[in-house]
């Protein structure tokens, strides 16, 4: 190996103007240096806003205006890439440096067959034509571990799974035998069982073809599995760089350490995430009083709070002129109970019907078959409207997408108390102070209750969502992937908050997630679902330490392994 690295970035700074005059700028990247040797896989890890993707775009000259490369140099094979013309970049992209996007479904053209797209890439970058190109295409797909490569060439992207599509994107990326591939979150859009094998393919390609890979990701687990060397970024600044093992297990910087502590572990259950949290010194007593008022009236019987009996959901698309009636069974005869104060987790891949169960419990979807018994009563059989309303309001939900779960035209406080005011559960003049109390209870500033949702970050919005559900003094909260849209450190904070609130107000939670590690940390009991069926229902420790079902074992095996910090 010669001494000049394949790619070398020195003191790169990229800025975005914050106002039209350009006097105030945001440094998306601030003095970043890195180098990649051929055949090496390096990881760039950081949370949203860290500038990870900006590095990839800067290398290929794809920075969207008004982003501007202010200073620094990028050298590829010794030649500077800064200030190249568009035509010079064109000959570089795809040919010498490949790029892999996050979502394979949008990276492929939906109206062309796989064959047409792979061959197009081959013809654009090599001299091969016709029969030769066709054969080379099959070869490429096989190298990217696509089975039945010859048949797949005739298919369209929508006929293939996400994992296969990503492999095809890999095949296209290696068509011109590039020296470097930039992979921007290549497995984020994929299910966990697929993720691992796709990463294996990426590692294999790197070794066989001697391709260097810059892997950009937020997922520490992915870094642990694939990379030799890792750079940690935060707010566009370099935090730490070292061999992967060192950074992950013996980080030297506080930020890296708290990032690693935020990663939910699958090996053992912790009481809380070990974060450096500031104590919430604000007075929340009135809010606490409001929420605890109800606790005294609660009866403490032994019967389960929630019982789901033989629950099924069949979605029917009505017959139309051109199509016959179609039905899809989302949930098949699921049974389970949730005791008071317990957290039950439902885990499964996308499309396993886990959210649908919650939506049926909450009454957002009609129940096809079976029944939901809540507080000893079937909602369908309650006729008295006041009782029915009280019944509904004591079941709340924390939603998945913080960006769509709040009414954008109402202030945070109004979002929290609007329903209470509608139902006359609170005096109008007290609503404002209650909203402020709840805001501070979930760790937000009291005075921010007047702000509109767009002024808050994703994690903060999720906290407002929690405050909104708490306002109804619920017994039961359905958490529908509440942290899947959040950064890992924000997730850890939010999960800690949920645990604290649950202890304080003896809440019962039904927690849906695709992330086994989150489930491991949060739940007392776990239900594993696949294709609408509950395969396994057992205690947390049993599921994770002695899984009975083969599917549960395959899920556990597919999880990227990250051991956590050395001191634990």
């Amino acid at each position: 190996m010669n001494n000049t690295p394949l790619l070398k970035i020195n003191n790169l700074t990229v800025t975005y103007p914050l106002n039209s005059e350009g006097s105030d700028v945001l440094k998306a990247l601030d003095n970043i240096s890195l180098k990649v040797n051929s055949g090496q896989i390096i990881g760039i890890v950081g949370e949203s806003g860290a500038g990870k993707s900006t590095i990839g775009k800067a290398i290929l000259g794809l920075l969207d205006p008004p982003a501007k490369l202010v200073s620094g140099e990028i050298r590829f094979l010794g030649n500077s890439l800064v200030g190249l013309s568009e035509a010079q970049f064109e000959s570089l992209r795809g040919n010498q440096i490949g790029y892999i996007y996050q979502n394979p479904m949008t990276a492929l053209n939906p109206v062309l067959t796989i064959g047409e797209q792979v061959i197009e890439a081959i013809e654009a970058n090599t001299d091969m034509r016709g029969k030769n190109a066709q054969e080379y295409a099959i070869q490429l797909l096989e190298r990217a571990d696509v089975s039945f490569a010859e048949d797949r060439l005739q298919k369209y992207p929508h006929q293939l799974s996400g994992g296969l599509c990503q492999r095809i994107v890999f095949a296209i990326a290696i068509a011109a035998k590039p020296k470097l591939i930039i992979a921007d979150e290549p497995t984020t859009a994929l299910d966990v069982t697929v993720q691992q094998s796709v990463l294996q393919t990426l590692i294999k390609l790197s070794q066989q073809e001697q391709i260097a890979i810059i892997l950009i990701t937020h997922d520490i687990g992915v870094i642990a599995e694939t990379c030799d060397y890792v750079y940690v970024l935060r707010y566009g600044k370099h935090v730490e760089q070292d061999a992967t093992n060192k950074v992950l297990q013996r980080p030297t910087q506080d930020y890296t350490r708290s990032l690693m502590a935020s990663v939910p572990l699958i090996e053992k259950r912790l009481h809380r995430f070990a974060l450096n949290e500031e104590d919430n010194l604000e007075d929340t007593s009135t809010g606490l009083h409001y929420l605890q008022e109800k606790q005294t009236t609660q009866d403490s019987t032994n019967e389960p709070l929630l019982e789901v009996r033989n629950l099924s959901k069949i979605f029917i698309t009505p017959s139309s002129l051109l199509k016959a009636k179609q039905s899809f069974t989302a949930v098949k005869g699921v049974n389970f109970t949730v005791q008071r104060g317990e957290t039950v987790g439902i885990v499964g891949e996308s499309g396993s019907g886990k959210s649908t169960i919650g939506r049926m419990i909450l009454g957002l979807e009609d129940i096809t078959e079976g029944s939901v018994i809540y507080r000893g009563k079937d909602l369908k059989l309650i006729t008295d409207s006041t009782e029915r309303r009280a019944h509904c309001l004591s079941m709340q939900c924390i939603f998945q997408d913080p960006y769509s779960s709040l009414n954008p035209r109402m202030s945070a406080g109004e979002n929290i108390t609007y329903g209470l005011k509608i139902h006359n559960l609170i005096d109008n003049n007290k609503a404002e102070s209650l909203a402020q109390d709840l805001m501070s209870l979930v760790g937000l500033k009291r005075e921010d209750a007047d702000k509109l949702p767009h002024a808050f970050s994703g994690g903060e919005r999720q906290r407002i969502g929690i405050a909104r559900s708490l306002a109804y003094r619920p017994d039961f909260i359905f958490c529908d992937e509440p942290t899947s849209a959040l950064d890992v450190s924000v997730q850890a904070n939010l999960l800690n908050l949920l645990k604290d609130l649950q202890e304080q107000f003896s809440l019962t939670l039904l927690f849906v997630s695709h992330d086994l590690a989150v489930i491991r940390q949060m739940c007392d009991r776990v239900i594993v679902m696949k294709d609408g069926e509950a395969l396994e229902n057992d205690s947390n420790d049993n599921i994770f330490e002695q899984p009975k079902h083969a599917y549960t074992r395959s899920l556990l095996d597919a999880m990227p392994k990250f051991q956590g910090l050395a001191q634990y």
């Binding site: 205006p65 009454g363 509904c392 939603f399 997408d401 769509s404 779960s405 009414n407 954008p408 609007y418």
Partner: protein, 301 residues
């Protein structure tokens, strides 16, 4: 509770961001404001009341622009066959045209938005009935439908407003529904439903403010469309009554005299009509562009 000063400030800021750096749009806006002011102030600034048959003198008929009238005043834009001052007639005509268009657009907009929201929230047969009615309306050429209506119900300012409302509501209903449907997918609507918030409140407090933006963008376009449609109908003689001429009817009045060299009777109302519609369309285009991030990024390159 609502801070009106703050709302006004945001509105000012928004207007500034829409129009700054777009001189043509600013010119359009200024032109439109001038036309509206003329229309509003017509009874006070017009040289003559063209509806008052007592002040008209048949001896002043068909005078070219800048002629002296019998009562000693100058007719800047000439007179028509019955001695009506064209400048005054255009001012009053503008007043009527704008009034008809404003009322029709506003009422049509309200009806359309309400029906669109209702269709989105209720679904089922309510939605089917509303949307099939929209399809039915859209499948007829608008002007033909209005002609039929006016042929059946007779002419008059109120009748033409009804006819125009029928032209306006359908596209608003369709757009509101599709915009509301995509809002309905969002989780805050689910949150409202879980909290047993009644449907009509979900419609007004949750859906309406969040799905109205694309429909509002259509309003200026509808306004200019209504002005044009009203002029067409009046030109064809099925619109406003002959005693209260709008711009379209004024053009029709002069039509017979065009070949005999009396060009001013049709020309001036025509010029005003064209510039009014142009002003509104320029502003409408700019607003549409401002609200469409795709067009915006194309402009930047």
């Amino acid at each position: 509770m609502i801070d009106y000063n703050k709302k006004l400030a945001t509105l000012k800021l928004q207007t500034k961001s829409i129009f700054s750096g777009h001189p043509i749009a600013i010119a359009g806006l200024i032109g439109f404001v001038i036309f509206v002011l003329i229309a509003l102030l017509a009874p006070w600034i017009a040289p003559q009341n063209p509806y008052d048959l007592m002040v008209l003198d048949i001896m002043d008929g068909l005078l070219p622009p800048l002629s002296k009238l019998g009562n000693g005043t100058t007719s800047w834009l000439g007179t028509d066959a019955v001695g009506r001052d064209i400048l005054s007639a255009v001012m009053y005509g503008l007043r009527l045209s704008l009034f008809v268009a404003f009322v029709a657009t506003t009422v049509g907009f309200l009806i359309g938005v309400f029906l669109g929201l209702l269709a989105a929230v209720k679904g089922g047969w309510v939605e089917s009935v509303i949307m099939r009615a929209v399809d039915l309306k859209v499948s007829f050429p608008g002007i033909l439908l209005a002609l039929m209506m006016l042929a059946i119900f007779g002419t008059g300012v109120d009748k033409i407003i009804y006819a125009l409302i029928i032209g306006v509501w359908a596209s608003k209903a369709r757009l509101t529904r599709s915009s509301a449907l995509s809002e309905m997918q969002k989780e805050y609507i689910d949150a409202a439903r879980i909290s047993a918030i009644p449907n009509w409140r979900i419609m007004l407090k949750f859906l309406l403010p969040n799905s109205i933006a694309p429909v509002l963008v259509m309003v200026p376009m509808s306004l200019s469309g209504c002005i044009g449609a009203e002029a067409t109908l009046s030109f064809l003689g099925v619109g406003v009554p002959i005693t209260e001429p709008s711009l379209g009817l004024l053009i029709a009045n002069g039509n017979d005299y065009l070949l005999s060299g009396k060009w001013w009777i049709s020309l001036f109302p025509g010029v005003v009509l064209v510039s009014l519609v142009l002003c509104i369309n320029v502003v409408a285009d700019r607003i549409r562009e401002h609200n469409n991030p795709f067009l915006k990024s194309m402009n930047m390159q």
